[in-house]
Amino acid sequence: MALLLSSADCGPDLPVPVDVVNVRLVAQDRSWHASYVLATSAGHSVDVPTGREVHVPLGAGVHLALSSPDFISSFTVDDLDLRHFAAPDLPSQVTFFADRVGRHELRGDELCGRPHDARARGWLVIDRPVDYQTWVRKQAREAR
């Protein structure tokens, strides 16, 4: 389910607990571009970019929609044993359960390409729900 944004002025009104989080993660120009689709109470959806950081709340099921318009990108979070990839015309989805709080490195190597594990690095952060809500509000505010 999408997160609900209660009004344009007061920040998102988050249903608690959040049980599913959908994040779009695009590998482009050798970098990660994460975004959240937040639905406003007025029925609009707002695309909130969050750069190379993905935050999810503890206890949520997470769907990461991976895509890569320009090269073959692997998606690896060693800590969580996640390994996937996306390539042009080959989007994919990574699903996992956020079961421990922590900040995990997210790597995105170009498969069969240059070795650059320091290049396209991002962070997958599993927050306590309260911290997550704070973070989402901040992102939504900054996105406006």
Binding site: S68, D70, I72, H84, F85, E110, C112, P115
Partner: protein, 788 residues
């Protein structure tokens, strides 16, 4: 403007300006012509070696008198000046000599010589020519002038003041810390190495007269994109003119191919033009010599990417005619690669199998005329619409072929750059093992009657996922055909670390499962399929010690002539990867293999890096070296992408350097001295011409066996040769395969170890006939076995 005019202008300028406080920059009057020579230590030196350095050139000769001797004395003085002057530390001194100089020159003073005609003539006797960091002639100084020293110093100072070309050499390439340790370890292991290893290879490229350079495509060479162009090209061998010496053909990618005639003594002459085999303007890959018309000479087939493959018919004297159109083997604008001549229907004519990789290019072309690659080329196997069916051509005789792909049932659509013939079931018919570089390898059993059946998973349930090359050999001496398959793409699944590159990959570090597109039942690296009977193989790569890093293809030959086949694996990646050299695997009596590339002098190369691309950062703004993303190779770099982005963009001229790396190789007795030498191709680079000194170190016992088929194809491709000597039988499978992307026509080399004679040679011909040549056959004999 002639050089001479330019020289006088520069002299005038240099003299006129010498008193000025603020001097004009020295003019540029041309680029130094490319050369490939060797120095006084017999190390190859080419123009690229001097890139990034200011250097002073003179001419020299073995009988150096007059101006030559004066300038030679001055060079010795200059060498001392350079050594003693901090500001001149990087300056190199180079003398071009018509013959070997002998003696020891100071460290900074290279005396370069090479094959006749190879020494460039841009320096006049008695002069100094000063060359800048980009290889441009910038000044000349009369070496006989009283103030020569002052003038040279003046010009050197001017060149030194010039903004330094930003020569970019990633640290992990320039000074690989792991390499010294590895060399030391291997050298220490030599004491325990049972296989003979008391000999050495020396790269005599500089003396060979070979100046061929494998030109990388714009895609890989300039805008590094990951695609199949970087798989390079093959080198093949055959005696094209019937003079008894084995000649070399190099396929090329963005440059022209080259045919070199072997003159003997390790020297070659370029006969590309007069032989009619020049191919350019298309990216070629595979190359094969084979006698397609059974007239006793080696014809030539070259496979290329999209622009069509080519078949050249030999007139027996080394002059070739392009018969592609009438032969009907041009392909269909596909991404062709591996070339295998074999007689699948037993009619005595060599048929042709050409692997097509798959569509990895788009319709736009770069300035080099080659099709631009797609950005996600290595995901091609996940797009069924990008696959291409490989081609089986049935030889009809008289230089004509028919496309038998569909009729034969050999409809191979995997992403394959190579294939090799093998009689895996012992029925006398040639089957095909076709490595897949992005998926499961395929095995096509020859069912007879011109039909093939796919028996891949049944016979080889687990294969490498990223297989590149394959070679048949009897490695354990049991008379059965074993199969060595090298896996490059599995090694691309992560940032391959030096300490891990000869290990199988842990599945956790392997590709994301869905990327494989298979049932995931793989050998995670090289495979050595040891035959235990018809259609039965056991995978023994780890047990036998043949896992290697970044391998392209294997070549097999008895390098130490001990009667056991050894393996050379051409290996390594170029920009922007770290250095990783080739491998030699010495066969320890059929028990296992031992790495010996450092022991035998194959590695490490004297120079690990070469200039790879020149960038104008004010124009090539999209290049990450220009935009401020720098040093892509530094795995230890812990900066975040945000921090990395803070690097200021670069401007002006940058020369980016890259690790050297091989692709194809051929093992043969290049100089007819009774031991096996090795020639490689290197991507974006010059070849290596490794000359073995095994025969110079004492008695080497060997036979060379040349097959002449009569009912069978004339080359005898598909024959099995069993040599009885030393109380055992050696079995060689004469498939013509000489290395990655290549097939050739040459005698079988049979090492006899300690035996001075062989007792017999038994040949099982493709026709089914068996023939035994009874001995004793003395070592050193070239035995021609003619099919009855």
């Amino acid at each position: 403007m002639t050089v001479r005019t330019a020289i006088s202008m520069v002299m005038a300028l240099a003299m006129g300006a010498s008193g000025c406080r603020r001097a004009e920059p020295l003019p540029v009057f041309g680029a130094v012509p490319a050369f490939v020579l060797e120095d006084q230590t017999q190390q190859p030196v080419d123009l690229g070696d001097l890139r990034g350095s200011v250097w002073v050139a003179t001419v020299f000769s073995p009988q150096c008198t007059g101006p030559c001797a004066t300038v030679a004395d001055h060079m010795a003085t200059l060498a001392k000046d350079v050594a003693a002057t901090p500001a001149l530390q990087g300056v190199k001194l180079v003398s071009f000599s018509a013959g070997p100089a002998g003696g020891n020159a100071p460290a900074r003073w290279m005396v370069l010589t090479g094959a006749p005609g190879a020494v460039p003539g841009f320096v006049r006797d008695g002069s100094f020519v000063l060359v800048d960091r980009q290889g441009r002639m910038r000044a000349t100084v009369d070496g006989l002038a009283a103030d020569w020293q002052e003038r040279v110093r003046y010009a050197l100072d001017r060149l030194d003041e010039e903004p330094v070309t930003d020569v970019f050499v990633p640290a992990a390439v320039r000074e690989p810390s792991w390499l010294a340790a590895r060399v030391k370890t291997q050298l220490a292991s030599a004491a325990q190495l049972a296989a003979r290893h008391d000999f050495h290879f020396t790269d005599r490229l500089g003396a060979s007269g070979i100046t061929f350079k494998l030109q990388a495509s714009t895609d890989v060479g300039r805008f590094y994109t990951a695609n199949h162009y970087d798989h390079g090209t093959g080198v093949a061998v055959a005696d094209v003119d019937g003079d008894g010496r084995l000649d070399l053909y190099f396929a090329n990618q963005a440059g022209a191919s080259a045919l070199y005639r072997n003159l003997g003594g390790g020297r070659f002459e370029d006969i590309t033009e007069r032989s009619g085999t020049r191919v350019s303007g298309r990216a070629c890959t595979g190359v094969a010599f084979a006698d397609i018309d059974n007239d006793g000479d080696a014809d030539l087939y070259v496979s290329c990417v999209r622009a069509g493959n080519l078949l050249f018919q030999n007139d027996g004297h080394g002059t070739f005619t392009d018969i592609t159109a009438t032969a009907g083997v041009g392909g269909f604008g596909t991404h062709s690669s591996g070339v295998v001549f074999f007689d699948y229907d037993g009619d005595g004519l060599l048929d042709l199998f050409v692997t097509n990789v798959g569509k990895y290019t788009r319709d736009e072309r770069w300035d080099d005329g080659l099709y631009a690659a797609v950005r996600d080329a290595f995901a091609g196997h996940l797009h069924p619409d990008r696959s291409e069916t490989s081609l089986l051509f049935h030889n009809l005789g008289h230089g004509r072929f028919e496309n038998a792909t569909q009729k034969s049932g050999l409809v191979h659509t995997a992403w394959s750059g190579e294939a090799t013939a093998i009689d895996a079931d012992g029925d006398g018919r040639q089957d095909l093992y076709v490595p897949s570089m992005q998926g499961h390898d395929e095995f096509w059993r020859n069912a007879g009657g011109g039909r093939f059946e796919r028996r891949s998973r049944e016979v080889f349930p687990a294969t490498p996922w990223g297989a590149m090359g394959a070679q048949v050999l009897d490695w354990n001496g049991d008379g059965r055909p074993d199969l060595y398959v090298t896996d490059m793409h599995t090694d691309m699944s992560s940032d391959l670390q030096p300490e891990e590159d000869a290990k199988k990959h842990d599945p956790k570090t392997f590709f994301p499962p869905d990327f494989l597109g298979t049932d995931r039942n793989h050998v995670l690296g090289n495979a050595l399929f040891t035959s235990t009977g018809p259609l039965r193989f056991v995978e023994e790569s780890d047990k036998a010690g043949v896992e290697t890093g970044w391998p392209w293809g294997p070549s097999v030959g008895d390098l130490n002539a001990d009667g056991w086949p050894d393996i050379f694996v051409a290996a390594g990646m170029n920009y922007p990867f770290r250095y990783r050299g080739s491998d030699i695997l010495l066969n320890d009596g059929g028990r296992r293999f031992a790495a010996a590339e450092y022991i035998l002098g194959i590695e490490p190369r004297r120079r690990l890096v070469v200039p790879w691309m020149d960038l104008d950062c004010d124009a090539d703004v999209k290049q990450d070296l220009c935009t401020g993303e720098q040093e892509p190779l530094l795995a230890e770099d812990t900066r975040t992408p945000e921090q990395r982005r803070k690097t200021d963009p670069r401007h002006g001229h940058i020369t980016a350097w890259a690790a050297r790396a091989s692709r194809s190789a051929v093992i043969f007795d290049l100089d007819d001295d009774g031991d096996l030498d090795i020639v490689t191709t290197n991507y974006g680079d010059l070849p290596q011409v490794f000359i073995s000194d095994l025969s110079q170190r004492g008695d080497v016992h060997f036979l060379k066996v040349k097959l002449v088929g009569r009912r069978s194809n004339r080359d005898g491709i598909g024959a099995v040769v069993a040599v009885q000597a030393n109380g055992r039988t050696q079995t060689l499978f004469h498939d013509g395969k000489t290395g990655y992307l290549a097939q050739g026509v040459m005698p079988l080399y049979v090492g006899l170890g300690g035996a001075t004679q062989a007792e017999s040679i038994a040949v099982t011909w493709p026709s089914g006939r068996r023939q035994t040549v009874r001995g004793p056959i003395q070592s050193g004999t070239v035995v021609t076995v003619r099919e009855p």
